[in-house]
Symmetry: C2
Subunit: 212 residues, 2 copies
């Protein structure tokens, strides 16, 4: 099959997702595509360019279509959640995304990039990125390489809590669930803080008249 920039970037993203950012190398990508290493350089100028491509690829996979009927609060929440879904779908690519400039065109095309409230947007993006780094980033990149297998047990081993899954299968699945809930709640909590803060900053919609 023909070698293309796109196939190279996709292969790199898959490699990162399977074995972490450290595992990605031009040689491994080439091997995966069944070609020699140097063949890659006909479609891509450097490894850095491949990683740029991965960041862009992942960012543009955000699925968000604005709903003009919704309030701005709900639109902001929807965007934040779309971003988060992307991060959860490509957790190990997040470090790569984050190591490049964030205000990319891809991000803008996903609806992040208003005109009048750039600072508000930046605050949200900062919050979202920071949240997802914590959520996704229990030492995601610079650690010793993982084994090639990707069973649930080794995924659980990425958590700070270390238990033998053979001995405590139910404890582990439970703790994973609890952690997930925790992340959900944490994310929504902070998101809500920001949404309310911004709402309070707007010209107040006079519900009940005050005295004075």
């Amino acid at each position: 099959m023909q070698l293309t920039r796109e196939r190279i970037i996709t292969a790199a993203a898959e490699l990162i997702e399977r074995e972490g950012p450290d595992a990605v190398s031009m040689r491994r990508i080439a091997a995966q595509l069944g070609s020699g290493v140097m063949a890659l350089y006909n479609h891509v100028p450097s490894k850095a360019a491949v990683l740029d491509g991965v960041a862009d690829h992942v960012l543009s996979s955000i699925e968000y279509t604005p709903d003009p009927g919704a309030s701005w609060e709900e639109q902001v929440r929807a965007q934040a959640r779309a971003f988060r879904q992307m991060a959860r779908a490509h957790p190990r690519c997040m470090m790569v995304v984050v190591s490049r400039p964030v205000d990319s065109a891809a991000l803008r095309s996903a609806g992040f990039g208003g005109e009048e409230a750039i600072r508000v947007v930046r605050s949200f993006v900062a919050y979202i990125v920071g949240s997802l780094l914590r959520e996704v980033g229990v030492s995601p990149g610079l650690e010793p390489t993982r084994p090639l297998t990707q069973d649930p047990a080794s995924l659980a081993a990425d958590r700070p809590i270390h238990l033998d899954p053979a001995e405590f299968p139910q404890v582990i699945s439970l703790s994973t669930e609890l952690l997930d809930r925790d992340f959900d709640a944490d994310f929504e909590f902070g998101l809500d803080l920001l949404v309310r803060a911004v709402a309070d900053r707007r010209p107040v919609k006079e519900l009940a008249p005050r005295n004075a």
Copy 2:
């Protein structure tokens, strides 16, 4: 001079700050300390451990002493600013910090780690980390290695805007200042959003009685 874990970590941090995370290697660290590569392994188990050490070292350099007289709003702001100062002092180490678990003991000892309001703290940390990644992280790590020199011109070249400093010295210093102001204002803006949001969530200090 004697080789120690501390000297190794300090050397690594300096190397990262001078040439970026990509430039750090066991061999370079050893060369800097005037020893053979393998001598390092008597004090440190692996490169990953060195990077863990760097993250901890940088995190524990946060200078914050709580002022019990100040309001909680001001205390939170002071902590956030202390964190930010650290990030600006070690900008290129930030990616290393961020690639490890953030809720470390070092962070807690810097005053981040309340009991009753863990989620609030997490929201702030998420915001701060996300902000500083943007501020500090114009492709901080995975880029082609920089030349060894660290003059202001090459620092300016890290910005997205590319001008020849020989031709436009004043434009560059101006734009740097503008960017700095921008970062300051952005950071304070979002910080203020969060502080107000949290304040509004507290049992309101009844200033003026309402009708109803």
